[in-house]
Amino acid sequence: MRAFLKFDYNLLTKKILEDKLSDFGYKYTIQGFGEIEFHEKVPEAKLEELRYIFDEYGITIIENQKTVLVQKIKDIIHEMIYAEEVPNVKVSVYLAEKLNHSYGYLSNLFSDVTYTSIENYVILQKIEFAKQLFLNDKLSLTEIAFRLNYSSVAHLSKQFKNTTGITPSAFLRIIASRRERNL
């Protein structure tokens, strides 16, 4: 038999952080997604220990300020796309407001670090989410288009094909065959 899982990423990460940090012995506050404030200075050796513990869960402590900002951009985009009620504002406006930088600055920084534009990244994330909604939530193309704020099914379909090179139906066919063959 096979069981299919759905994750609440926010809860999952928060729980892991709390579990690991309670053993760590330094007072802290979790500041929203992806930020922890320690109430006192943590010595480098202890930080190294934490790095090691986090590594097992795919959590990295970011050092470089540019990378921190890029990660924040990614988190906000993720939040926007995965929200039950997709906020009805442009990504550019939303990012600039939340991060207090001009969109031009954020956009240049993002391309420098990730080799891709914010716009492309948003599309990629949306299509990834569409794949999940197909496979795990068994939503139809129409339902997904509505959920992700596409103006029409055709628009979603076209963007899927443009981004992945294959049609949504071919994608589903391939994944279904893989599962049949247990790959």
Binding site: T67, I166, A170
Partner: protein
């Protein structure tokens, strides 16, 4: 962080195609390390060595003597040690059936070999950037299918 680079292997029996490929990568802005194998046997020998560094992306030609791309694909997919490798089929064939079959067997990417150097650069740059996003943004590799 700045030191991060992507490790790439190409298995292709055609010497010109190999040269073409490594030259294209030299001109991309993402830092990569490109290694080539002359056929499927050489590739599998390398991968199966315990101390070998596994690539982030493997480009596989389909038509190779001794051991072809599909045989390599099957062997790679049967071994959990290779789960993290993204597999790109790099072939001259563009038959729909062929393409879908390689995806079902576990390939992530299918690229029809372009004959023009600039086109090749464009395609490889796109694929490597896309893979970079999967690599750095924790996207689900099982759902990574891409055709160019």
């Amino acid at each position: 962080m700045e030191k991060e680079y992507m490790h790439i292997i190409l298995a292709d029996d055609d010497e010109d195609d190999r040269m073409f490929f490594t030259d294209a990568f030299d001109e991309l802005k993402i830092s990569t390390k490109v290694q080539t194998c002359n056929d499927g046997v050489e590739l599998m020998n390398y991968l199966n060595k315990e101390d070998s560094i596994l690539p982030n992306v493997l480009f596989l030609d389909l038509n190779m003597p001794m051991k072809n791309g599909i045989e390599c694909l099957h062997e790679i997919k049967a071994d959990r040690r290779f789960d993290d490798i993204v597999i790109a089929i790099y072939s001259t064939s563009s038959s729909e059936e062929h393409i879908e079959e390689t995806f079902i067997c576990g390939a992530n990417i299918y690229i029809k070999k372009p004959s023009d150097f600039n086109e090749l650069k464009r395609v490889l740059s796109y694929v490597v950037t896309l893979n970079w996003q999967y690599h750095t943004s924790g996207l689900n590799k099982d759902n990574f299918l891409f055709r160019m």
